[in-house]
Amino acid sequence: MHIVVCVKHVPDTEAPIRIRADGRGIEEQGLPFVVNYYDEHGVEEALRIKERLGGTVTLVTAGPARAAQALRTGLAMGADTAIHIEDPALDGADHLGVARALAAAIRAQKCDLVICGKLSTDDNAAIVGPALAEYLEFPQATAVTKLELSEDGATAHREVEGAVEVLQVALPAVVTVERSINEPRYPSLPGIMKAKRTPIAVTTLADLGLAPDEAGAASARSEVLGFAPPPQRQAGRVLEGDPAQIVKELVRFLREDAKVL
């Protein structure tokens, strides 16, 4: 069983985000980055399958030089090999471009299963996994909470409104996972040392047989026009005085200002 897991290096969700001076991105200077949480669950799921059925786990990321840290973390958890698609043309690529680049790298791997996180916590799009399945022409199951493999393929459980949907997919397939699917392990110290010794295969779009206008910024069909911070929360209002008066004022407020009554 050869499993490929796509990982993304994203800003720590607990870190304060500052918008870049040009308004079209976020300031990365001093910002701590981590492996996208959903992808950590993806790595864990792949490692569990490997522990049950044998095989290898390959990590793939598309991103700048710093994204190698996400691969190192996954290797330290126990993945076997890692591929880093690093190409300046990917700056400004949209989700479809990234999916096309990942698909090209994965196609060369001859894998049985591709696992992605359900979404990445930086832009919450949940596009790359499904788009990847389309480019690879693999069946897909998204937001999976339980995955079982058999000779016939994979059985994937998805939590849908009020029920659990059970899908049977043929392999190779793309599966995107929810965080509830498992509890990711911590990298061990020997794992960290092994990750340090494992070479990461760095590849460009050209190496993958893609022209810059096929996957890079030049091919993007969507463009980020701007980032804005969420609106500041208004200060609360405290009503004071005689209880009868307060109730009257509260009802008026809820009806006329808040318009909830």
Partner: protein
Amino acid sequence: MDFELSEEHRLVQSTVREWAASRLRPLAAEMDRTASYPPELIRELGDLGLMGVFIPEEYGGGGMDTISYCVALEEIARAEASLAAVLSVNNSLDCYPIFAFGDERQKRTYLPELAGGRKIGCYCLTEPTAGSDAGSLRATARDAGPEWVLNGTKIFVTNGVEADVLIIYARTDPGLHGHGISAFIAEKGDPGLSVGKVEHKLGIRASSTCEIVLEDCRLPQHRLLGERGKGFRIALAALDGGRIGIAAQALGIARASMEDAIAYAKERHQFGRPIAAFQANQWKIADMATRIQAARLLTYRAAWVRDQGRRHTSEAAMAKLYASETAMWSATQAVQMYGGYGYVQDYPVERHFRDAKITEIYEGTSEVQRLVIARQLLDAS
């Protein structure tokens, strides 16, 4: 010169930080109150490689360096200080001497178990009349043919209650100032070995501290660790590394004090504004941060010198001295900033204050560290 942690050190830091935040910190107050810890935590630390950080992988250890050890201990102690003591003793005072001075059989027998968190180690040096003057210890080991027969009383033994593997220092030959002392490996259940009085402590309450009583304790010949009569050298070499660990533990307590104080200063309002707006508190925070950074640099440098394979007696003593005094000082400032709330158990700084004190005492008091540092300088000139 590069002051940044390497990629793998940062990975150790983030891993241990996450583990400690989710598994340890929520239990800290309860562990302090009940003076106990869930034993499965040791197994988890073993699985991560943290019970034998610098023991090579072939002996079941983490295969990393002393900097990693410091980074990990600071993160553990930031969450809860007692477990840092348990871990530090196991790493520096048990795994290390067995690895550095043990024969192949001893290494194969004990290291995988100790480094894997399946067994816990302790270090028995101090006696009722031999504290800072450890070289004057009185426990004896008599060569009785196929066995050694040990007699004496060891006190203030960290991990003593749970310990499966005990390194015991006893006198095999007459001598002054540490001469004639040998090191032995005892195991829980060895005849004549028992746990005596269990201490009730001011801080690091979740780790056990007790008396170990040796009454005609019989150990096979192959339990002698290192050369006969050279045991005190082993004890001191273990302490050189151990002190770097205690410095890292102290750093964790100091950082906990500072981080908690900062959070509280921003939240607590008096005179119509957060108390962080008062310069009296800003100066406390600035001084804590400065001292912590200085302590961390001393600690990392001591670890680095050790990793170069060089003698680090003085560097370790300086790091331990400065970091422990920084922990006590920072915890004192934090309690002061919390005021009345700092004196009660509803907030963690009261615990940091109690936990900090031991770092100025064990593995050599601050006075002993100064003695060690001064002796190096005076002997050199």
